[in-house]
Symmetry: C2
Subunit: 325 residues, 2 copies
């Protein structure tokens, strides 16, 4: 009976491990969340992942699941999907060249599939979220950095060596601000949450008056969410920063429409909480910066799966790799 | 007998119509070239195309060809591949919304396939040129404007509505120079042959000394080829312009490596005649502007098919659409 089959999806984050047991139709059967404990080192993180999987399996069996089809892991990169190795994880000391797929397969005796977190999110949104029914899907994750994924006809776009879709490192301002990658003028340097905070702090330190300065004690504590909240309350400085951020995002998204001509662009990640203030200006600047033929008919929408996006995407990864979806 | 089958490919240019009769293995059997006569109007151009096709058929029959599999047409856009309509042709007065596929099929009684010229060039280079054997191919045409095409696993990348790969309209300098498309800072505005000439003229008019001023009577006659020729003779001003052009091209190509992670980037079009002076700086700036993982193993190469590129690509279009390659 096919309804007794299930998939496990793991969203391996810097702070938490979020896991889901889902059936093949995309129904969530069991969920689990526990701290990653990255500061306790690599072994601890792996044992947290294994405990989470075992919990889901135990609960699944109680629900009548007789077959676990596989385990998907969505993780921040850099990583190698084919070899199942995570090269590096900035928030876990000692996490270098970890062959996570082999380690887990030896312990759990189920097929394990590794996926870049932005690709997993894109696949999850295509399977059960904002990208459902579309053939050409682009997803941007707007957070500390800017990542990207593309789903073309239901398959993750990988490129020749699995390292493309680095949409945050598209240069939109040649010779501009320096980016963490070493190049100048990357989208990420202008439009990530980090960039928003940096600009806000600089403007406040210059003495610009803002509602922002009222609800923070120290400009150092400022978050991107604070800026967007202030903008939603019509704070002028915050609105200016949002407008500028949207201009850069619109430049980057306009480029991507001209290049990929997608059906839909899905915006995901922390910054999308601010969709009420962000989406209108982003659409305005995207339209200004792209050809009419590529703008017409495209949808720019927020991700739908919210907190579960990574784990749902990890489940979808299992189904994609096994050729089930 | 399969060797008695052949394909016709037409490169519909503003000045000339270049046509080839090829066998399925890519051997050129007959070629034909005649003026497009665009200034004599739409009907004249169509009759030139038909004469060219009939010439190839006649010669083909003499060579023992018993079956013509189809006719491919590579044309500058904007056009609709699926409906077989060329919306506009800037150099042919009255050429608007011409249903070329239907017109030709009615006259010739063979299946006709329309393709954007840059896509056709990319497909041709994949079939029989610099892209042979690769899975992820990007092609940029560097000429009056900058166009692009991508071949992924042997198929033309089309996007949702066939209007993607507008690589010349990728914004690399937000807020920069105005482009013909209305946006600011497009790659085309900085790195096309038109941009090269514009910059050279401006610098000469400012009184900069250059070898260039020696071999042109009037700065208005200056061509991009002149600039590259002067650069190859170590003219300082010309070298500066080439370096700057390469910097912008390297920014754009670096972006495309970060996004697509291709196996190979093929540079085609008039500017590639200057490959001796252009390729080294383009590679240097591309490497500077892209992530190490996306730079490693990629090849940046000139197109191989030269003058025949468009017509070979048009032949390949027939084979691609019929699922033969």
């Amino acid at each position: 009976m096919s309804s007794s089959q299930a998939i496990i999806g793991i969203d391996l984050g810097a702070t938490n491990i979020k896991s889901l047991l889902m059936d093949k139709e995309g129904k969530i059967l069991v969920s689990d969340k526990r701290p990653s404990l990255g500061n306790e080192g690599k072994e601890k993180v792996i044992s947290q992942i294994i405990s989470s999987i075992k919990t889901l399996q135990k609960e699944g069996v109680k629900l009548g699941i007789s077959q676990f089809l596989g385990i998907g892991i969505g993780s921040p990169g850099p990583l190698n999907v084919e070899e199942g190795i995570i090269y590096q994880s900035p928030n876990i000391p000692g996490w270098q060249n970890v062959p996570l797929v082999r380690i887990l397969e030896e312990k759990i005796h189920l097929p394990v599939f590794l996926e870049n977190d932005a690709n997993a999110a894109a696949l999850g949104e295509w399977w059960k979220g904002a990208g459902k029914g579309f053939s050409y899907i682009l997803l941007l994750t707007l957070g500390t950095g800017i990542g990207g994924g593309a789903i073309i006809n239901g398959k993750v776009y990988r490129g020749a060596r699995g390292c493309g879709m680095e949409l945050g490192h598209m240069i939109i301002k040649e010779g501009g601000m320096i980016c963490g990658c070493g190049a100048r003028g990357c989208l990420e340097a202008y439009a990530s949450a980090t960039a928003v905070v940096k600009r806000a702090k600089a403007l406040i330190k210059q003495g610009h008056k803002s509602y922002l300065s009222r609800f923070i004690k120290d400009a150092n504590d400022l978050t991107c969410e604070d800026v967007f909240k202030a903008a939603s309350k019509k704070d002028e400085l915050a609105l200016l920063i949002v407008e500028e951020t949207a201009r850069y995002l619109g430049t980057g998204i306009g480029n991507l429409l001209n290049i990929f001509n997608p059906d839909v662009v899905i915006l995901a990640g922390g910054m999308v909480k601010a969709k009420e203030v962000l989406f209108n200006p982003v659409e305005k600047y995207t339209r200004l910066n792209c050809l009419k033929s590529c703008w017409e008919m495209v949808k720019i929408v927020p991700a739908k799966l919210g907190e579960n996006s990574g784990a749902v995407g990890a489940c979808a990864t299992v189904l994609e790799r096994k050729g089930i979806i």
